[in-house]
């Protein structure tokens, strides 16, 4: 049985730092959006009892980005959530590179397969 190499551990530590940073950046963006959202809509009544779905602009990458540029609090919150979703995706992409550097081509393939499923879900449904 081959012991896990020192390289594996180093890769994991880098990935861990990457994930933590991604989450903190995402949380900061969500906080900024929350501030704007609460200032503008704080005193409005809430009704989430019936499902209407988030407005179409908050469902696509392009809508969220253009809304954020215009300073919409809700869009900036969504942007933060997109960054949050992107962190584990970045981890998978980074792992593919790391396996490539280790010349472990079997795992380069496995990692790319996972990345393909993620791309199918995220790009397929939210890119339009």
């Amino acid at each position: 049985m081959k012991p896990q190499s020192w390289n594996d551990h180093r890769i994991e530590v880098i990935i861990g730092v990457l994930l933590r940073a991604g989450v903190l950046i995402a949380a900061a963006v969500v906080l900024i959006g929350a501030g704007i959202y609460l200032l503008r809509h704080g005193s409005e009544p809430v009704d989430f009892r019936t499902f209407r779905g988030a407005s179409p602009q908050l469902r696509t990458f392009s809508g969220i980005i253009s809304g954020s540029i215009h300073g919409s609090g809700k869009s900036i919150i969504q942007l933060g959530l997109l960054l949050l979703i992107a962190t584990p995706v970045a981890r998978v992409a980074f792992s593919a590179i790391a396996f490539w550097l280790e010349r472990d081509y079997l795992y380069v393939g496995i990692t790319l397969a996972v990345l393909a499923v993620l791309a199918y879900s995220l790009l397929g449904s939210a890119m339009r």
Binding site: M1, K2, P3, Q4, H9, E12, V13, I15, G16, L19, R20, G22, A27, V30, L31, G33, A34, Y37, L38, H41, G42, S43, E44, V46, F48, R49, T50, F51, G53, A54, S55, L58, R59, T60, K74, S75, I77, Q78, L81, L82, L84, I85, T87, P88, V89, R91, V92, S95, L106, Y107, A113, V114, V117, L118, S121, L122, L123, G124, S125, A126
Partner: protein, 279 residues
């Protein structure tokens, strides 16, 4: 009717508590977020699932940095099984958009009861099985992990069964917006004979990727609403980070029992409300 500011503050507080207790008991906060939103705040279960899924990514990624430092997780097992969990998650998210809210509530309730059962069940680690398994060797899944008595080697078994169970865990995750860490750990330590410590940390590693796979479908369908996801994500994240800090070594048994009892009550209520069409 509540105003946006009151709703946000109360929900942040509730989510903080859920994240805090989830981290302290090791049961994860995500599993109580959906019932909290659906039963206590009267939010439609589809919005609840969307917000919960987002919080699951936050806690999983936030905790990963602490876990990897200990060198316990097995990145190859995680990556290989993620093929199954991500495909399952996409399938689950698509099913979620087709079934009624009552059915979702009933399935959710059953999963809650099962999680509570797992939390009270005595945990006995199966003896390590060191006989080699050809598939595990071909996939380089066997590994080592640090223990008090030095570095120990372990061999992985029943790869196809573990892979199949992981597909199921992914489907549940995508269907209900939860991490399904309990099912993942079960698949790894019962079926594949991965040591507890390794399966727990590897499962945490996989949860974020699995949840990301279904989030695309949820986002496009409008399940992820900023007004709900924002307080839930921030609250659960802060709560779980605080909980992990307090945790250190106190594995409070009585706290687990109390939290387990809360989960049972919520599970029964979800099932009841699902049947009576109140969700």
């Amino acid at each position: 009717m509540m105003t946006v500011i009151t709703f946000t503050l109360l929900l942040s507080l509730g989510s903080f508590l859920a994240g805090f207790l989830g981290a302290l008991t090791g049961l994860g906060g995500g599993v109580v977020i959906v019932p909290l939103l659906a039963l206590v705040f009267g939010v439609d279960i589809r919005y609840a699932i969307g917000a919960s899924l987002v919080s699951v990514i936050a806690t999983s990624s936030g905790a990963a940095a602490a876990y990897v430092r200990e060198g316990l997780s097995n990145i190859r097992i995680g990556m290989f099984l993620e093929i199954a969990t991500t495909v399952g998650a996409v399938v689950g998210a698509m099913i979620a958009t087709k079934v009624g809210t009552g059915t979702l509530g009933i399935i959710f309730g059953l999963v809650l009861l099962y999680s509570a059962y797992l939390s009270i069940r005595p945990q006995t680690e199966l003896p390590p099985d060191t006989a080699p398994d050809r598939l595990a060797q071909a996939l380089k899944l066997n590994g080592t992990y640090p223990t008090r008595e030095g570095v120990k080697a372990y061999a992985v078994h029943r790869v196809p069964l573990g892979f199949g169970l992981m597909f199921g865990a992914g489907t549940l995750s995508g269907l209900l917006g939860i991490g399904s860490g309990a099912v993942k750990v079960l698949a790894m330590d019962q079926a594949m004979r991965v040591p507890f410590k390794v399966s727990t940390t590897t499962s945490n590693f996989m949860i974020g990727v699995t949840a990301a796979a279904s989030s695309g479908v949820y986002l496009a369908r409008g399940y992820i609403h900023p007004g709900i996801a924002m307080p839930v994500m921030l609250g659960v994240l802060a709560g779980s980070l605080a909980g992990a800090r307090v945790l250190v070594k106190t594995k409070s048994k009585s706290l687990r029992v109390v939290f387990g009892a809360v989960i049972v009550v919520l599970g029964v209520e979800m099932i009841f409300n699902g049947f009576t069409g109140r969700l």
